[in-house]
């Protein structure tokens, strides 16, 4: 075993609370894999962790260019962390483009580990540096701690007897980097070795070469004088004991749907069409056949949702997942699900829009579409997840509401949550809320006629599925007569049905938890009201503002339609409400419209998440203004 706690030389190990690292390189450099592997190792130490990959929209953007830069950022800490870090402390730059694209987000005094081969004349030119300029040599990085490392050369040296082709050897350079970072943060190597052996089960040479590259990187850190002054770092673990797994938001959604079906005793059906950044929900569920999950990759977005409506009619827990352009295509079918009053979970992983927009970048700009994007009066519940792990609870909750209230539910996540990951303490089935489908019992000939649209006191109709004797009935998209469900064009009936459908959704407010204050005083100067993936940035900013003595609180909305019943009361307890959103201001309209108050908006529409610093500045500005 490689002893990672001892060094061959005496190198200082400094304990740190928290560090944010960026692995950046060309999209062919394997940075996602390196970052993921590093994150797995960090997680197994019990350290708090949050990761975020940032890669180009193109599969193979021109090598060496800024457009081709792929990054994987993570923050790990002895304290809870909610974001991958507003800025990073350490940046691995495999080439000049990676450095150029990310330098602005590196802390002053931060560490740069630069792969020198990526800074040759050709790479510098591709990255757009002026002729003759090389940041590794011209002193322009003097505000940072720079380590130029001939990563490629060292990897080749280490693997020259591996028997691999030179191309294969070069591809192992990311493992060298990984080993070096393990040394720097006194992390163990064994887990990675196991992963590599499992991954290259059929190619032992490849596994061993990769392992040798990891070790070479590790020993390079240990043996070279380069890092002697810097020393090594140690981040103490924080997590309580227990069983954990690391999940991305998309994985969490997939697990939640399967779990909800298990809990409800239903079969899961997912009708879907691949779309970035939502596809992993489909691909993850396609691998869950062991749990009886049926996935259906349809010919288009419309067939994705409509096949799910068919499955819901048949009594399945039916779901569809998509992103903005796909949700737009599904809107007509959503109206059908509303009028049929069938349960359906729609997960919309938001991305920058309109149109194709920024497919790989997060935005919170589909809130209006989720709320209002249907023809006719077609209200449905809208809920939003706030973290990768919360994607599990939110999707599960969407399924609960859908099944118990016989309605389509839109669960909003975004590209940031979808791809970010964090450790999740494995949930016990017993802790999950019950989900109780109400199937209508078979009917005997002497029973009163079956009324498909007869409602209970929650305005919910029963689920009458084919195969149930005596319940043969016809329903459809045409307006239906109250109770009988027969086609009806009667004016009063249409108004009644429209109101009943809306009332059913509004009454869901009686079956969801009250809004809580996440942090801060129950009354005060400022309430930061967030929704969705901005949770981490707001949480961190508000924590810091409270530490600095400001009277500020944070509430984060999961239920956007209907709102929790006490929201108005909460909003009344602060002098000012601040609503940060990754859009041009959408929740703020809904809050204003519902409660007739004047909150202050704070928007960012750059395809990147908020960072805690920008929110903190906004908070302090507002409170100073309130006090002046």
């Amino acid at each position: 075993m490689t002893d990672t706690t001892k060094s061959t030389r005496q190198v200082n190990v400094t304990s740190k609370t928290s560090v944010s690292v960026l692995f950046a390189g060309d999209s062919g450099d394997g940075m996602q894999l390196t970052g993921t592997q590093f994150a797995n190792t960090v997680a197994t130490q019990g350290t708090e962790l949050n990761t975020f990959p940032n890669f180009p929209a193109e599969i193979r953007a021109p090598a060496g260019t800024i457009a081709g830069v792929s990054g994987f950022q993570l923050q790990f800490s002895s304290k809870p962390v909610y974001t991958p870090g507003a800025r990073f402390d350490v940046m691995v730059a495999m080439n000049s483009a990676a450095l150029k694209a990310n330098l602005k987000d590196l802390h002053r005094g931060g560490i740069i580990i630069a792969g020198t081969e990526g800074f040759d004349e050709k790479n510098l030119k591709l990255a757009g540096y002026p002729e003759g300029a090389n940041p590794l040599e011209d002193g322009s990085l003097s505000n940072y701690i720079l380590f130029p490392v001939p990563i490629l050369q060292l990897t080749r040296e280490a693997l020259k007897e591996s028997g691999l082709s030179s191309k294969e050897i070069d591809r192992c350079k990311n493992m060298f980097v990984l080993g070096l970072l393990y040394w720097l943060y006194t992390l163990p190597l064994e887990g990675t070795f196991e992963t590599l052996r499992a991954k290259f089960q059929k190619n032992v040479h490849m596994a061993e070469a990769n392992i040798r590259a990891v070790k070479a990187g590790y020993f390079f850190g240990d043996e070279t004088e380069l890092f002697a002054n810097l020393g090594r770092f140690d981040i103490a673990p924080q997590k309580q004991h227990g069983t954990y797994r690391r999940v991305t938001g998309n994985e969490a959604c997939a697990i939640a749907l399967t779990a909800a079906a298990k809990k409800a005793g239903l079969k899961l059906f997912l009708g879907s069409y691949p779309i970035t950044p939502a596809t992993e929900i489909l691909s993850t569920l396609a691998k869950k056949k062991k749990y009886g999950v049926k996935t259906y990759q349809a010919e288009d977005e419309i067939a994705g949702i409509v096949s799910s409506i068919g499955a819901a009619y048949g009594g399945a827990l039916a779901a569809t997942n998509t992103s903005g352009p796909g949700l737009a295509l599904k809107t007509e079918a959503l109206g059908l699900a509303v009028i049929l009053e069938l349960p359906l979970v729609v997960i919309n992983v938001q991305r920058g829009g309109p149109s194709t927009g920024l497919p790989t970048k997060p935005e919170q700009s589909d809130l209006f579409m989720a709320m209002y994007g249907r023809h006719g009066e077609a209200p449905l519940p809208v809920i939003a997840a706030s973290s990768p792990v919360d994607c599990f609870y939110c999707t599960y909750e969407a399924a609960r509401i859908a099944v118990e209230h016989m309605t389509p539910v839109i669960c909003l996540t975004d590209g940031y949550l979808a791809l970010s990951s964090e450790p999740w303490k494995v949930e016990s089935p017993d802790n999950l809320a019950p989900i109780t489908p109400r199937f209508h019992a078979p009917r005997q000939p002497e029973d009163p006629p079956f009324l498909p649209y007869k409602r209970d006191d929650r305005q919910v109709r029963a689920w009458a599925i084919p195969g149930t004797r005596g319940l043969e009935h016809r329903i459809g998209g045409l307006e239906k007569q109250n109770e009988t469900g027969n086609v009806s064009h009667d004016p009063e009936n249409h108004e009644l049905m429209t109101k009943l459908r809306a009332q059913k959704i509004n009454q869901i407010a009686d079956f969801i938890p009250l809004q809580t204050i996440d942090n801060g005083p129950k009354k005060g100067d400022l309430l930061v009201l967030g929704w969705g993936s901005s949770y981490g940035a707001i949480k961190t900013a508000v924590e810091q503002a409270i530490e600095q003595g400001y009277s500020v609180a944070h509430a984060h909305l999961r239920y956007i339609h209907p709102f929790p019943k006490n929201l108005e009361e909460i909003l009344g307890n602060y002098k000012k409400i601040l609503i940060p959103e990754l859009n041009n201001g959408q929740l703020i309209h809904i809050i204003r419209d519902t409660f007739l108050i004047a909150p202050e908006g704070f928007t960012k529409i750059q395809g990147v998440p908020f960072n805690e610093m920008e929110i903190l500045i906004k908070i302090t500005d507002i409170i100073k203004e309130l006090q002046s």
């Binding site: 997680a43 197994t44 019990g46 673990p237 997590k239 004991h241 227990g242 069983t243 954990y244 797994r245 690391r246 697990i255 779990a259 298990k262 239903l266 009708g271 869950k288 056949k289 062991k290 749990y291 009886g292 049926k294 259906y296 010919e299 288009d300 419309i302 067939a303 409509v306 096949s307 799910s308 068919g310 499955a311 009619y313 048949g314 009594g315 399945a316 039916a318 079918a333 109206g335 059908l336 049929l340 494995v426 016990s428 089935p429 019992a441 078979p442 084919p466 195969g467 149930t468 004797r469 319940l471 043969e472 009935h473 016809r474 329903i475 459809g476 998209g477 045409l478 027969n486 086609v487």
Partner: protein
Amino acid sequence: MTENTTIPVLPVLIAKDFASDQEPKWCPGCGDHAVLQQIKNVLPELGIAPENIVFVSGIGCSSRLPYYLATYGVHGIHGRALPMATGLKVSRPELSVWVGTGDGDALSIGGNHFIHTLRRNPDLNVVLFNNEIYGLTKGQYSPTSKIGLRTVTSPSGVIDQPFNTAALTLGSGGSFFARAFDRDGKFLRSILKRAALHKGTSLVEIYQNCPIFNGGAFEAFSSADNKANNTVYLEQSKPLIFARGKRGIWLDGFQPIVVDLDKEGISSSDLWIHDETDINKASILAHFADDHADSEESLPRPFGVFYAKERITYEDALTAQIADAQKNGIGTFEELLRGDQSYEIKKA
């Protein structure tokens, strides 16, 4: 899912047991009435309890079909009956799932679903009412309208090449295609029954007259004289003979040729023998419709089963994959939540 879905003892049912309490709202003289009647005639013959039958439809005159049948039924949205039926069939393979659709619903707005459903081959019985017109929206041309047809949206005549439903079905990998006629009830009934018994997507194209907006569109095949000369009824292993036994089809390589049985010294054994499992012959039959029944040499319009060859259905293939994934046991709830990459953090 429920445990209460199957009923072992079936009462003997007749056609009127499958009539719902809703009065059909189709125009008088519409071919849809005749199709509905034949569906009601066929259903009792299948031995399937009404609660295990579902009719799914999209939008259009034909898509009102589910309302008039005392089975389960869903009237969906325009063009989307096939994916809805597929989702239902995939999640509930034991149900008998039917689709009522039209030329606009299936071939225009639902064209994409049409081709993809056929290649996947879920076990659906698709009844395509082809009246070569949009009826419900009052008479616009459809993707099967003939070139030159003057309608409210083609005042100078249609210039779009119409779809050849048979060729489209076969080209999409369909496992069953048959054509029938609204006015020939007995034949329609036999074809519907064949379609119902076919395991896989069975596509039945019914020439259905819309007396209001496209009356007489199929006149060339309906009046007694025209019918004899312009239609050929396909029977398995039988030669292609029409015109009251006077003419037949002889296959010269890939070229179908109309031959006069009286004059040319050709006996029926020399003629094309129908083989509904032969995709090549079915494809040639499909293109008979490109001929326009305007001369003695014109190829007749075929009716009957062009092609029927079973292959694995989508739901069976998926069920098999699931069974394989579960061969060492169904995944437990705990296993699901734990995943395969969990790790233990021990007490510090």
